[in-house]
Amino acid sequence: MSLSLEEVEHIAKLARLTLTDEEKALYREQLSAILDHFTELEKVDTDHIPPLSSVLAAQTGLRVDKAHQELDTATLLSNAPQAEDDQFRVPPVKGAGA
């Protein structure tokens, strides 16, 4: 199979990635080749096979739902590119964007 340039641009938009024209061309070629290889899976009969949901049959139960203080606000904001009044600062949301 071969992905079109429009498909590559659509995926990049869904993934929120700005790509250069060179990247688009490269990923179009590489992803097409990779997906081609993956058609191998069609050979496997999975009609009555459930999808795997967890590798371990018995899972641990849920922990007690109790609030507790882990880290304070200043610590949580310490890696923020921009913070103000104990909040993360971001540029304005203009268009619909999506």
């Binding site: 990049a12 990247e23 990779i34 795997l52 967890s54 610590t75 890696n79 540029p91």
Partner: protein, 492 residues
């Protein structure tokens, strides 16, 4: 004089307990060796000498107090130097995941595995190099440059825990933490001639491990012997309320028995792991190691894991799909790189476009496509069904054997740049290590020989869920009877 850095973790601990060496001396010896070899190997992304010396001095005080009053027990790994793969958060230490998008990220907390090891007294010397977000098989995908293989510096150390594997092989540290999503502990261990454990999924908490593929990620370790890995896993393993997929099954002591044989152990050799294209010397060394196990008393039988060939497409659909969701958090808002913009969506797109490297973008694209409307059933859904069959292969196999022995990778360490232009060719390097992650079973990689170029060859032992004890015992008995794991690369 034997250099302190030649000691295994266990030997270092014994020397510390007997007062033959101080933690400060051990730590300084490691730091000096790291400094000397860093330009050649580039195994570390960050070094924390001040922190390490502080931890070492504190350890020495506890040992001194114990010597005065031996009723005061010391924690089990007190004073031994350890390196941490740079995808695991360590409080106050820059954690980049080998990515530009996290260039200045300083975690305000420790990953649970790191916290548990710190609590029992390890000395943390620094963070090791990794493929960006652990996506890669050579460390070439690190945004900060490749790590060199200590056995031949023109070759890759494997990946993604290549920095950790190179650091242990070059005897910069006795042990290092790694993570394994599709072979990232076992394959670099194999390429660098060290021993590595990828535990059962859920055995070690993933809290503080910056997520790649959440249903596959496991925190493991690399050292020179299986015995040392057992000491580390005993501390790291166990339920953690901060990771709901961590398991509450009791953690064994992983004590290794004194007996030097493998009597009664049933070893399966899967035909599907000895295929055309495998380097003949790799096949020969693994078969010879299996013969050695037989000589030591193991009962060897051929087995089948019929869906092995599908592990590659299954993994490279599921892991990127999970990655595309996990890496959505890197958007320039709370941490990491932000490319300034006057509009929010533009900021997301440009920050991610500028911050992620080529392989990470490729996997995000692949995963996004596999999950997108119209393709979900054909790709992601299909892959999860075939994953059920792969897991069933292991369940069936472990009805008749205790351990599966197979090559870790189809070849020894390849040259830097050899596969870097063709992603599919690079993915093919993982064919033998992916199935264990897809099935959630534990795998241990140990050195079993060298090829004609002098490069190490690894064998992996896989066990049923929570079968780490058998893997350690098997590898330990093998290592008592052989000396491949004691070989040392020729570095200055």
């Amino acid at each position: 004089m034997t250099a302190f850095t030649d000691w295994t973790l266990k030997e270092s601990l014994q020397a510390l307990c007997k007062g033959k060496v101080s933690s400060r001396e051990l730590t300084d010896a490691c730091l000096a060796r790291i400094d000397a070899l860093q330009p050649e190997l580039h195994a570390f992304l960050a070094l924390t000498p001040e922190l390490a010396r502080k931890q070492a001095d504190a350890a020495d005080k506890l040992y001194a107090a114990q010597r005065k009053d031996n009723r005061r027990p010391v924690p089990p790994l007190l004073g031994v130097p350890l390196a941490v793969k740079d995808v695991l958060c360590q409080e106050g230490v820059t954690t980049t995941c080998g990515s530009k998008i996290l260039e200045n990220f300083v975690p305000p907390f420790d990953a649970t595995a790191v916290a548990r090891l710190k609590r029992v007294g390890v000395v943390t010397v620094g963070k090791t190099n990794t493929d960006e977000f652990a996506m890669g098989s050579s460390t070439e995908n690190s945004a900060y440059g490749v790590t060199a293989n200590p056995w031949d510096t023109t070759r890759v150390p494997g990946g993604s825990s290549g920095g950790s594997a190179a650091a242990v092989a070059a005897r910069l540290v006795p042990a290092a933490l790694g993570t394994d999503t599709g072979g990232s502990v076992r394959q670099p261990a194999s390429f660098c001639g060290v021993t590595g454990i990828k535990p059962t999924y859920g055995r070690v908490s993933r809290y503080g491990l910056i997520a790649y593929g959440s249903s596959l990620d496991s925190v493991g370790a690399l050292a020179r012997t299986a015995e040392d890995l057992a000491l580390l896993l005993k501390v790291m393993a166990g339920y953690d309320p901060k990771d709901s997929t961590s398991h509450d099954r009791p953690v064994p002591t992983y004590e290794l028995p004194a007996e030097a044989d493998l009597k009664g152990l049933r070893v399966g050799v899967p035909a599907e792991y000895f295929i055309a294209g495998i380097q003949p010397e790799v096949e020969a060394a693994v078969r010879q190691a299996v013969a050695k196990m037989e000589e030591l008393g193991a009962e060897v039988q051929p087995i089948h894991l019929p869906h092995t060939e599908y592990a590659l497409p299954v993994y490279y659909l599921i892991a990127p799909a999970e990655a595309s969701a996990n890496l959505a958090r890197f958007d320039g808002v709370r941490y990491g790189l932000r490319v300034p913009s006057d509009e929010l969506i533009d900021m997301y797109n440009s920050s991610r476009g500028a911050g992620f490297g080529p392989e990470v973008k490729r996997r995000i694209m692949l995963g996004t496509y596999a999950l997108s409307a119209g393709y979900y059933d054909a790709y992601y859904g299909k892959a999860q069904k075939v994953r059920t069959l792969i897991q069933q292969d292991f369940v069936n196999a472990f009805e008749s054997v205790d351990v599966i022995a197979a090559p870790v990778a189809p070849s020894t360490a390849f040259r830097i740049g050899e596969h870097s232009n063709d992603p599919l060719e690079m993915y093919l390097q993982d064919i033998f290590s992916l199935p264990a992650n897809l099935a959630g079973v534990p795998g241990l990689s140990l050195p079993v020989g060298f090829d004609s170029q002098g490069l190490p060859i690894g064998m992996q032992l896989m066990g049923p869920h929570f079968g780490e004890e058998t893997l350690f015992r098997t590898a330990h008995v093998y290592q008592q009877a052989t000396d491949w794991h004691l070989r040392k690369p020729d570095l200055n």
